[in-house]
């Protein structure tokens, strides 16, 4: 049984110019302990797909799917309360802008302890102890001190560590990370990706990593889904994807990587336009 199984997911938004289809019949499957990368350029529907799974889209969104199952449980049949019990506890999500994702008015300690209270009913000393353990687990130095910091007093990389600590607080079975390192320097990106990979392996979590960066895919994924214009273009294990991409758009993306430049000019997706679905 797959950890998460989504079949034929579509999302459209009501806009002033009529309905806009942001995601068009995409399917996703993640096994326990597996790292799935969803890669695509901006606007390809990566975030919308995962927000739909989490039930976090605005009311202007219409979501349809043939099936949405988490550990075999039908997410679509669940009431709002049951769904919330799964989401945030068994499935956790982190976002691109770590500083903006945290509330600027409260200490990071308050914010992680709030989660521990809500989902795990921890209080007092036990809660403080658990918060410190979590900060240690994500490599924040002097955790007891840092709990008293406000988000703006920490760097972007440290804030992302805090977000990860909050996300793993309830020992989720699935972590969805939406461009978690896009706003960070590459040296910090490396640290955050290593941390995510270590936590994923230690805890046997499923991990869905959304990114636009083929380098990040190469360094993390077991399996990869390539998206373009709200459609799934290709799905393959990571080695196959880089070695023998079967889809024209994937080939275009890979050859547009400057490190793959063979001549003076870089091929662009436009060079593949005839082959890539219009």
């Amino acid at each position: 049984m797959a950890l998460l199984e989504i079949e034929n997911l579509s999302v459209s938004f009501d806009t002033s110019t009529g309905p806009f289809k942001a995601l068009d019949g995409a399917s996703y499957r993640v096994e326990a302990g597996e790292v799935l990368a969803i890669v695509g350029e901006s606007g390809s529907g990566k975030s919308v797909a995962m927000l739909a799974v989490m039930g976090l889209l605005p009311p202007t969104a219409t979501v349809t799917a043939d099936a949405m199952r988490f550990e075999g449980r039908d997410l679509m049949a669940l009431g709002a309360r049951e769904r919330r019990a799964i989401i945030g506890k068994e499935i956790a999500m982190i976002f691109q802008e770590p500083v903006a994702s945290l509330n600027p008015c409260f200490t990071v300690g308050f914010q992680i302890e709030e989660v521990l209270t809500t989902h795990l009913a921890l209080r007092g000393r036990a809660r403080r102890k658990r918060a410190i353990e979590l900060f240690e687990a994500v490599g924040i130095p002097e955790p007891a001190q840092r709990l008293k910091s406000f988000p703006h007093q920490m760097s972007g990389g440290q804030c992302q560590r805090v977000m990860i600590a909050i996300a793993i607080a309830c020992e989720p079975k699935l972590l969805i990370a939406d461009e978690p390192t896009t706003a960070l320097d590459v040296t910090i990106q490396k640290q955050i990706l290593s941390l995510l990979m270590r936590l994923q392996a230690e805890r046997g979590m499923g991990l869905i990593l959304i990114t636009h960066d083929m380098g990040v895919v190469a360094e993390t994924a077991d399996r990869v889904i390539v998206q373009y214009n709200g459609k799934k273009m290709e799905e393959a294990d990571v080695l196959t994807l880089f070695e023998r991409p079967s889809n024209a758009y994937t080939r275009a993306l890979l050859s547009a990587l400057p490190e793959n430049a063979t001549g003076v000019r870089l091929p662009t997706v436009a060079d593949y336009r005839e082959e890539v679905a219009p």
Partner: protein, 276 residues
């Protein structure tokens, strides 16, 4: 030896921050004595962690900001930016393109006016001449004359960066300072803009100062690479030399942190993972 396109000697820049209602004012030494020489027609890439002073240096070279101390020479001519003593001719020679193609174009100005504005301000050309030059430039950067009367919001990120490049080139500059010009763009659009910059450099013999944090882009576009760390230059060598063997510890960290997308690296990672 020919006169270098750009010469920077002992440039420093301090920022005074704070000193409002709360706390004491503090001095940030954003640049701590930068020296560099760049030959005409070459591309210098500047890399380094965010906050190390890349944009500060870029703005000083583009004469948008004054240095706290030190000297700058463009084409062998010393620049004195203090007291507004930069000549129109000196300004014409150096233009700048910014990272954010959304923020750097005035949303209320039509594309045509955005591109002709530097001509109107700096030359005595007639309106018809300006218009023709702007139309030609639109074509050069891969857009077309039909875009002349449109507004920036009607364009994609890559197209907006083309407009910014057209505006920067309209005065026929010699040196283009590009501060992360492709960082906000999707991969395929990035490739188009990098190709365009290559073509324009060949056609006009332009010299580029190219700020980037992406080593794969740097490797593709640069002749020389300058690595900055906390306001100082820690390494400045030819692209081939630096990619063959980074010397400074920060450069090594940077290279080691850059994701590798080649098949051999993926194989090695998967093997290590399978071995547990």
């Amino acid at each position: 030896m020919s006169v270098p396109a750009l010469e920077v000697r002992g440039v420093t820049r301090d920022y005074h921050v704070g000193g409002g209602l709360f706390g004491r004012s503090r001095v940030v030494h954003a640049l701590k004595g930068i020296d560099l020489t760049l030959e005409r027609g070459k591309t210098l890439a500047i890399v380094g962690e965010s906050g190390c002073g890349k944009s500060t240096l870029a703005r000083i070279i583009a004469m948008i900001d004054p240095p706290t101390s030190g000297t700058l020479a463009i084409d062998g001519m010393p620049i004195d930016i203090t007291a507004g003593r930069v000549t129109a001719e000196q300004r014409r020679k150096v233009q700048m393109v910014f990272q954010n193609p959304y923020g750097s174009l005035n949303p209320r100005q039509k594309v045509g006016n955005i591109i002709t504005e530097p001509l109107v301000l700096n030359t005595t050309k007639s309106a018809a001449e300006c218009r023709q030059l702007a139309m030609d430039m639109l074509v050069k950067v891969g857009l077309s004359a039909v875009h002349y009367n449109r507004y920036p919001h009607m364009f994609s990120g890559g197209q907006r960066q083309r407009i910014a490049i057209a505006r920067a080139l309209i005065l026929n500059p010699q040196l283009l300072v590009l501060d992360e010009p492709v960082s906000a763009l999707d991969l395929s659009v990035q490739a188009q803009i990098l190709n365009l910059l290559r073509d324009l450099q060949d056609e006009f013999g332009l010299t580029y100062v190219f700020v980037s944090h992406d080593l794969s882009v740097v490797r593709y576009i640069a002749d020389e690479v300058m690595v900055m760390y906390y306001g100082e230059v820690v390494e400045h060598r030819s692209r081939d030399a630096i990619f063959a063997g980074p010397e400074h510890s920060y450069t090594k960290t940077l290279f080691a942190a850059t994701p590798r997308a080649d098949v051999d690296s993926i194989r090695a990672r998967l093997a290590a993972k399978a071995a547990g």
